[in-house]
Assembly symmetry: C2
Homo-oligomer: 278 residues x 2
Amino acid sequence: MQSIRTLNDMIVFLQQRGDKKRVAVVCANDASTRYAVEKGKEMGFIEPIYVDGDDKEECARRAVALCKNGEADILMKGLVNTDVLLKAILDKENGILRPGHVLTHVAMAEIPKYEKLLFFTDAAVIPVPTEAQRRQQIHYVNYVCHALGIEEPRISLIHCAEKVSAKTFPYTVDYLEIIAEAQTGKFGRCIIDGPLDLKTSLDSVSLREKGIHSVIDGQADALIFPDIVAGNVFYKTITLFGYAKTAGVLQGTQCCCVLPSRADSPDSKYYSLALAAI
Amino acid sequence: MQSIRTLNDMIVFLQQRGDKKRVAVVCANDASTRYAVEKGKEMGFIEPIYVDGDDKEECARRAVALCKNGEADILMKGLVNTDVLLKAILDKENGILRPGHVLTHVAMAEIPKYEKLLFFTDAAVIPVPTEAQRRQQIHYVNYVCHALGIEEPRISLIHCAEKVSAKTFPYTVDYLEIIAEAQTGKFGRCIIDGPLDLKTSLDSVSLREKGIHSVIDGQADALIFPDIVAGNVFYKTITLFGYAKTAGVLQGTQCCCVLPSRADSPDSKYYSLALAAI
């Protein structure tokens, strides 16, 4: 499989593969969700199942049931509040969270000033990941990278500097343990390093100017943010000022879930659907 | 005074004002510091005092003494480690920290996709501000905005969402108290709101799409970040991907201090010097 370097490469890959994923779309009563779903159908990689009705909670439950029963491969949010849909997804009896897994968000971005696709987690779901949750985030992001043809993803553990500060930022100590585990192959094929700041993760010139050595060498494929605030700031900054195109999916569930926010662009919803179909 | 909307406006303002600030430059043995200082001299708003020598700690102490004795107006870091210079600045007996003040970092950015200058704090010094430190950060950033002709700065208290989450993010509760204090005039003339995410702080369309009302109306002049990691991620992202020009100074000291990092561009050092001269 060829490496996918742009969001358009991802669409081409899906078209070449040729199979269609069935998408349960909850309350697609807004123009941007309709656009995303119909464009995915037109491009040939999805088959929508529209789940509409006056009772949005009932719609959410019905769509989740379609996923649970194997009648749909992807769940997508339309004009329904995120918490209503999450409640149905996380329901202990009828929900679709995989046992022993955590729900987290993986995003990808195509940024004009970066030479390849960039994956990052978590800008949207887990407020402050525990050590165990961070390890699951790494597993998920690694899985998504591999699915897109990146054989040995370079994963950077983000901080504001390259020094471990045990007292103020205990997660930087955890970073060292994660790196040691990665070297034994615990996370599968990937390269992990950190703590690194955003610039030394993504720019080899800055890395060298700072006199730092890192196996990632300023060419990270994926960024693990220490908390949702840092991740969210990154996500919002690249979309506002970095001319980025983005996509995002939930991980940890039996089938891939697309839960865009209302402020996401129609194209972002379309690319998210494509990422879910990978 | 006319409002300054670009970094070049700031240079023009300094030239029109016509006075020269004396800058104690510690170990200007690198090309980018020399460039910044000589360009400031050429443009007529600074007069350098080069403090060089083999013993960098001694140079740092001598430069700080010049500031303390009123023989220099600005302190600038050249090829000397930040911690060496900070040690001299913060020295209890011979340093220049104002009694009862905290040292913090204020940055400004000119971003092509934003219609005015954007100020933010703290991307570089205080790891996790206390309530008291956050209030001082607001005072400083408000002071800098006023000095640059922004009569009523719109100051946004940054989070990943617009909801207060007392349990996970206690600072969001503090935000409400700060807003109440601002309404009584405690911070001087300014408009403060939060918690707001980065997008709703800086984009009125996104604000309305989310159905949120804010007095800042997506047009913030200044951003207060909850911690150094979020601030640092923002700073690095706009410089890497947002085509931003930036400047930054330390606040809390008797005279303005410019402590760029080695990875900052020569122009960033020059604009920082200009900001310090305001």
